[in-house]
């Protein structure tokens, strides 16, 4: 469809994970805006990435308004602090009502705080444990091929 409105995605926090996610969304055809407190971190973005790069605090309402969170369909909160991600996700849901919200929580216990908010949690700790338990249950030969 030629005239379909481009979908907007906002990625808060450019850790390695955030930079990769921003690249993925960009490749998938999203108009991506990335925001991070540290301007240096924009270097981690893939070379062909040409979305907006905003240096600022993603927990600040004015910053979020400026980078166009109203109208975005995807919000990814992947800064390195669980509480920060949790606040960004809650603002995204309660104030801007973004359709799809993803956030990173290293501490799986924190998931309880956002239960019922309809946001998707990415838990590196849980994922690593799952991977570990799969690997553990495999035989040595199988494991070598993973």
């Amino acid at each position: 469809m030629l005239f379909e409105r481009p979908k907007i995605a906002v990625v808060a926090g450019l850790s390695r994970l955030g930079a990769r996610i921003a690249g993925m969304l960009y490749d998938a055809g999203y108009h991506v805006t990335v925001v991070d407190l540290d301007g240096e971190s924009f270097r981690k973005l893939p070379e062909h990435f040409s979305g907006f790069q905003i240096e600022g605090d993603a927990t600040d309402l004015e910053t979020l308004q400026r980078l166009g969170l109203r109208g975005a369909s995807v919000l990814v909160a992947v800064t390195e602090d669980d509480n920060r991600n949790s606040l960004i996700a809650q603002i995204g849901r309660q104030i801007f009502n973004v359709e799809h919200i993803f956030l990173r929580l290293d501490d799986p216990e924190k998931e309880k705080l956002i239960a019922g908010l309809n946001v998707s949690v990415i838990s590196p700790t849980k994922l690593s444990i799952d991977k570990f338990s799969t690997l553990l249950s495999m035989g040595d030969k199988e494991r070598a091929t993973v």
Binding site: E62, D82, N83, L87, I95, E109
Partner: protein, 221 residues
């Protein structure tokens, strides 16, 4: 009341002292070991050393069923996290926190944390009030700035001296709640006449506060 204080330095120290003195059961939680050791020496109350953003630290502090949690961390999002954890996971009845970004008072309210104090906001309002009005001894902002209590000293030049309150033209949403005369306090009515050196406590909305003070000094009534 059972009160937990998470984070904070000087303000936490002061709060612990003042709450303990008023016979509240206080637990302080702080990540800074040196601060904890110092507090444990100064105050007769449990001090837990650990990051209050972690659920297991709050569990160690046994805050379940507490009446109040007060979060004084430097980062606003940590304070939100602590308050939400205390309320949702530990059933703490009331959560109070400070924020550095004044906008977060409204945002946290939408997220269910209603007792949010912005020092920047409070201080700026007080400074603004103190510098705008002469004769104003003190002003206090309540309900997130929706109500203010202003203390005004009636000096010689005031036109209201000798007049009754009903003769003065007070704006809507303002009232003289109390008159302090020498050492007595009296709750005035319309027939109360004002005297030199009376101290008035005026409760008003921020919009009518200015005209309420002006009403005391308007000559032609």
């Amino acid at each position: 009341m059972k009160i937990a204080i998470a984070g904070g330095r000087t303000e936490a120290d002061f709060l612990i002292g003042s709450l303990v003195k008023k016979k509240h059961a206080v637990v302080a939680i702080n990540e800074d070991r040196e601060w904890c050791e110092h507090m444990a020496e100064t105050h007769q109350t449990p001090i837990i050393c650990g990051d209050p953003c972690k659920e297991y630290v709050l569990r160690d502090a046994r805050i379940a069923g507490f009446d109040v949690i007060i979060a004084l961390m430097p980062e606003d999002y940590d304070n939100l996290g602590i308050c939400q954890m205390a309320r949702q996971l530990f059933g703490v009845k009331k959560a109070v926190c400070t924020v550095s970004n004044p906008q977060n008072v409204a945002i946290f309210g939408k997220l269910g944390i209603n007792n949010v104090i912005s020092a920047a906001y409070l201080i700026s309002t007080i400074i603004e009030q103190a510098s705008t009005f002469e004769n104003l001894v003190q002003a206090l902002s309540l309900e997130e700035g929706r109500v203010s209590i202003v203390e005004v000293l009636i000096e010689e030049k005031f036109a209201c001296i000798g007049k009754t309150l009903s003769e003065l033209d007070f704006p809507l949403n303002s009232i003289v709640a109390c008159v302090i005369r020498n050492t007595d306090m009296l709750v005035p009515n319309g027939q109360t006449s004002l005297r030199l050196n009376d101290k008035l406590l005026i409760v008003a909305s921020p919009e009518s506060q200015n005209s309420a003070i002006a009403a005391l000094n308007t000559k032609a009534i």
